[in-house]
Symmetry: C2
Amino acid sequence: MPLSYAIIGTGALGGFYGGLLARSGLEVHFLLHSDFEHVVKHGLRVDSKLGDFHLPSVHAYRSVGDMPQVDCVIVGLKSTQNHLLASLIPPLFRDDSTALVLQNGLHVEQATRDVVGPGRVAGGCCFLCSNKVGPGHIRHIDYGKIVFGPYRGLNDDEPGPSDERLQTIQRDLSGAGIECHLTNDLTTARWRKLMWNIPFNGLSVILDASTDVIMGDADSRNLARRVSEEVRQTACQCGSAIEPEFVDWVIDHTDEMVPYDSSMRLDFNHGRPIEVEAIYGNAMRHADRHHVETPILKTMYQQLKFLAAHR
Amino acid sequence: MPLSYAIIGTGALGGFYGGLLARSGLEVHFLLHSDFEHVVKHGLRVDSKLGDFHLPSVHAYRSVGDMPQVDCVIVGLKSTQNHLLASLIPPLFRDDSTALVLQNGLHVEQATRDVVGPGRVAGGCCFLCSNKVGPGHIRHIDYGKIVFGPYRGLNDDEPGPSDERLQTIQRDLSGAGIECHLTNDLTTARWRKLMWNIPFNGLSVILDASTDVIMGDADSRNLARRVSEEVRQTACQCGSAIEPEFVDWVIDHTDEMVPYDSSMRLDFNHGRPIEVEAIYGNAMRHADRHHVETPILKTMYQQLKFLAAHR
């Protein structure tokens, strides 16, 4: 049996994945904010390199109070909005519901876990280039893979959702055309993604430069590699073994990306909050709990906090 | 017998110290560039909290070819101009001449040493707030102490100038009203100064903030302290013992400073070259020679190199 879904945060990410799930015939309920009236009238439009599509009529809501309870709540908000989860999730949750948190960072699932309790949260790393270009209008630029798995708490000692539930979610996502992989080691998957996010999100704001400019300068290119290597060593010392060659992969892969503004730089330049706690603060505190020094990570964290407070 | 002096670089620093030496009755020859004609006509003016003074007639030159040889050449250029020293110093030097290098950084004397050979170079750390506010017009804002000593080369194994020569220079400076101290450990004196310069010069450019704003934000204030502590630990591991409490002194002392733009921020904002090699690069390379890791210093070096290349 496929599951029913609610999408909290119908933006570049939630609109894209939720749109694909709805297109595949599943029951999907979208929580919208400023785009609500437009989507009620005109539906949801996704321009994608996988093929453009338009859903003329979707289940759209302005408030969670109007939404039905579902099997799976997909959290697609920016983590800077996590203070809203305590009011957004409970109305949608039954005893056997699951939350799938598709946010950037480490332990970014903890805010959801604190709302719904242990055993009910999965987390996923999304490798997605996607923008919202207008009301109810998503442009998918590249990639789209999700690597997801059970979230086991800050100390990795809690149960996750059942294997059966996770496998059903995987079947639903795959059936919707989303490349997705189930992992039993979400923490290591998160660290691998952070090996890109931590150097490139932060340096793009601190140096006010897009990734291609960072990669084209010998000093910033070497700095990005050193940051990625510090993240790798931190992960290893915290129990997530990642091979040294993965740093090369991150750097080579970035060379191949189209000139790209990181989501943090877009947020910063548009005056929106940046995800410095989810990406930097949580990684730093995780390392602190494991008594691991992170001199460069902490430097970037403090620089970003200053810049966010004084822009 | 007092010495005769030449000032290379009659700016905020060279104009101030050279002006005081000339006022005290010593023979001082000033090399000038854009201010030459103004100083020939109107002399040199110094507004100082020690008392304003005006020297209506000074020995001013546009070219070293017109200058006499002297006992002591004071190098007051920015270190970013050190490529000029090979042509500027030799015409002023006799076999028994001495160079006193009053520049920021570590091993910043090496460029002068390469021109004049070993045994003839002293270096001094200046604790000076001074600006050039117009042609031939210096405004001395605060401080002014010089701590100087023999420069002994990159590996600390070369002779310095004779004690007698250094003591004569000290007498001349003191007689001119300049607080000055002679040290036999220039390297440690340089590291102490770097415990301020490395955090505050660099962060003021990277964060685009004056020192009072850096000190007023909890994150950047703690970052400045962490940088200063990394510099201290690096100095210790390279053989310059500096007590942990000196970090507190640096931070407390900065709290007491008038709101102040670092010289590096002034240079950066006016589109001039910044002294990133003398202050950051040389410290980093000194640490490398001693096999000491400097993760934050290197991060700031690479950030500053990028920003200087892309402003």
